[in-house]
Symmetry: C2
Subunit: 291 residues, 2 copies
């Protein structure tokens, strides 16, 4: 495999693991992060630090970004010290943040003026998937650039699928979050009902967990929620961001999503109770307390 | 294993397979069904026909019933030619229909006057699960009778769990149907969104089917719905019956189930379009046509 010079911007919980896999594969890594401390591990392993996104990008054939919110992505690409202003001609710019399809299209539209191409490539699989290189990566943008970037994606993920033109990766990710929304209600309502009826939820899970009501949420999150463990695998506040993006995109397409809307209202209630920094499984607690 | 004389009342798609497993295990089978033709296979294999539920029950240590609707169960147990009036003293009466917890409690309350005990033992797993003896069986009622009946359940199912007193099996089954309700919205909304956005749903499934949005519905039903195959694995009309039972039971317990209510409204729309005899996966079509 040929090795590349890669800029990796955003070395939080996800980015750190993902960048680590690229470093291990023998690529040269240029990193930047808002909080330098979170890049220490990568620097110790051989990555080079840069003080701005642009400075890191200037050294690279591939620029990978992964941030928290669309506004961070916007700053990272369009700011004066940003990626677009400083990237090399010929570079492939890859945003792996879960962000808006519209922003992905804006970056893709801006890239050619800098003689770059762009991909939007959000992921699912969480911190564990990132650590174990088992992410599912959904990619939109320029297909020839996808072909070039594919070996890098395959270092970070297990499932890598090209979804179509700019923004398609983000649209696929929003479809995923839409799917999660009703899955969360599914197991929370099944178990709330069981508990209210006086059944033992563990026995109920034994009977129904592997059947048509079964889901990853029921298998992985329900046991945590049942023992009162609301530690974040995935933050409520981030899920709400995703649901907002999804419902906005659906509205533009004039598509009614009653399940997702219902879930969004419930998570608004969750946030109103001050549980924004809990994991999404805290929804079970809402059902127990609200009715 | 000791063999028993078993009455099996209700030899439709599910009952036929389930009774077949008991016959194969060496038990003596007495059968009744509203439509005799549907019992032919079992009769050819050695079962004995009876013209009424009571006549079959009169020959048996265990009476198993599986019907379509709670009103059929009521008639089968409480009618003049029914199970209660004719069952032997000491018999265990087992209703495996998905029915109301309240009716299960009424049967259990009536049984002692006839020196019988009762179990409610609805199942999940569908026609395929019944055929392959891989059902999940959720049992409520008298625990000593459950211990006696357990070897029979284990011939018909793979997962057999005692859930508690009379009605608990039905409550667990309703929890299962509640779980299914939002799972159906989950994959239908994810794929409707993907299709409306111009993505290829098969590629989207590749990216998201194994992750946190994944479910049995997404894996098994989505591909059918996507190719316009609405053949019933599970009928819309039966699912609506179950959702009515579930929401009634939740109301009694003062538990609000917004997801299940939303799904119920959507399935009411499905029925209003005349798709009651389709499989539940026809919900995807509703999303495509309604917005």
């Amino acid at each position: 495999m040929s090795t590349h010079s890669i800029a990796f911007i955003g070395t939080g919980v996800m980015g750190r693991s993902m960048a680590g896999h690229l470093l291990q594969a023998g690529h040269t890594l240029h990193v930047h992060n808002r909080t330098k401390a979170k890049a220490q591990e990568l620097l110790a392993a051989g990555a080079t630090w840069h003080d701005t996104p642009g400075a890191a990008a200037a050294q690279a054939d591939f620029v990978i970004t992964i941030a928290g919110y669309p506004r961070d992505v916007e700053e990272t690409y369009f700011g004066p010290q940003g990626v677009l202003a400083h990237a090399r001609p010929g570079a492939v710019l890859i945003d792996m943040t879960t962000s808006s399809p519209e922003l992905a299209r804006r970056i893709a539209a801006a890239a050619p003026a800098h003689r770059c191409t762009a991909l939007d490539a959000p992921v699912t699989g969480g911190d564990v998937g990132a650590r174990e290189a088992r992410l599912s990566i959904m990619v939109g943008g320029d297909e020839a650039s996808f072909a070039r970037a594919r070996p890098l994606f395959e270092r970070m993920g297990k499932i890598v699928v090209f979804q179509g033109g700019p923004g398609s990766g983000q649209l696929c990710k929003l479809a995923n979050q839409i799917g999660i929304a009703s899955v969360m209600m599914s197991w929370c309502e099944a178990l709330s009902f069981a508990q209210r009826a006086g059944l033992d939820p563990a026995r109920v899970l034994e009977n129904i967990g592997g059947g048509a009501a079964g889901s990853v949420g029921m298998t992985v999150l329900a046991p945590r929620a049942l023992r009162g463990d609301y530690a974040p695998g995935f933050y409520v506040k981030h899920f709400l961001k995703d649901l907002r993006l999804a419902l906005e995109a659906a509205e533009v397409m004039k598509l009614d999503l009653p399940g997702t809307q219902t879930a969004k209202k419930l998570y608004d209630e969750v946030a109103a109770r001050g549980w924004e920094d809990c994991g999404t499984q805290v929804l079970l607690r809402l059902y127990a307390e609200r009715a």
